[in-house]
Symmetry: C2
Subunit: 169 residues, 2 copies
């Protein structure tokens, strides 16, 4: 089966996780956290997010990419910065001979698909991801969040009414 | 002299303008508006912004890029979408063997450098850009905004206290 890439972008840390469907069960392929040099100006950090996401895309060639619409930001300034990290990551996702389908999930949808109640703590998501993918050790928080959104997609892809990324500005 | 690229990103229309210093005067090289298909999902539009900005970068190889910090958006949702367009554009700017210097200017700084008072109407900016670059016809609004930020950089690059793009999320 074709891999599914989950992404949890941020200007300081961008988590990614790659899984695949194997029969009825999800199988872990890879995960990691892209950490641009915090001392670099934002354009350089965006360049580094873009390069590393592109390299993950080239390695795994996922046909489906799931991304958190994640929006717990309080102010317009942080929304603008988070948006830039997402834009750099999504541009890398689309910079492919066969661009994948991109599907967006809210933090609540992701948590619901992990824990059956939408208000899970971060550490519960990490534990559920570790359990569901039978990992030897718990992934870093941002990598676990990315794996969780990939798992959310895998679980929900069978269900109708998928949300896709949209919006205007 | 090395060209200066001005960018005015948006998810629907991204303006770009390329100028160079020629002695003491700015000279027009190119401008345009990237208009992703409005019916496409956001990731595809981001991919198209990224490809076209990269192609402008490859054609002109600017050593300096000026971008509007422009933020007249009312809500967090539109900030997030605008941020994604900027992120896709800036990732293309940095996707270069010799990444340029990127400098950010506020809408007010850009207007001040055009009209000596910061509250200029859009159409005044278009007229000033046409005059300053001795253009045969008035460029489209988004292209004019991009040329204006490039001109702002050219005029202000001599002055101290440059703003550079920054921020966390």
């Amino acid at each position: 089966m074709s891999p599914i890439l989950g992404l949890d972008p941020g200007s300081q840390r961008t988590g990614y996780g790659v899984i695949e469907r194997r029969g009825g069960t999800p199988r872990f392929l890879a995960c990691g956290v892209i950490r641009p040099d915090a001392r670099s100006p934002l354009p350089e950090r965006l360049g580094s997010i873009h390069r590393e996401v592109r390299s993950v895309m080239r390695q795994w060639e996922p046909a489906e990419v799931a991304i958190e619409s994640g929006f717990v930001h309080r102010n317009i300034r942080s929304a603008l910065v988070l948006g830039q990290a997402r834009g750099a990551a999504l541009a890398a996702v689309m910079d492919s001979p066969r661009p994948p389908q991109v599907v967006e999930y809210s933090p609540r949808q992701v948590k619901l698909s992990m824990t059956a109640f939408g208000g899970a703590e971060k550490s519960q998501v990490q534990k559920m991801v570790t359990l569901l993918l039978a990992l030897g050790e718990m992934p870093a928080e941002d990598a676990a969040d990315a794996l969780a959104v990939a798992l959310c997609h895998l679980f929900r892809a069978r269900a109708p009414g998928l949300a896709t990324v949209g919006g205007e500005a």
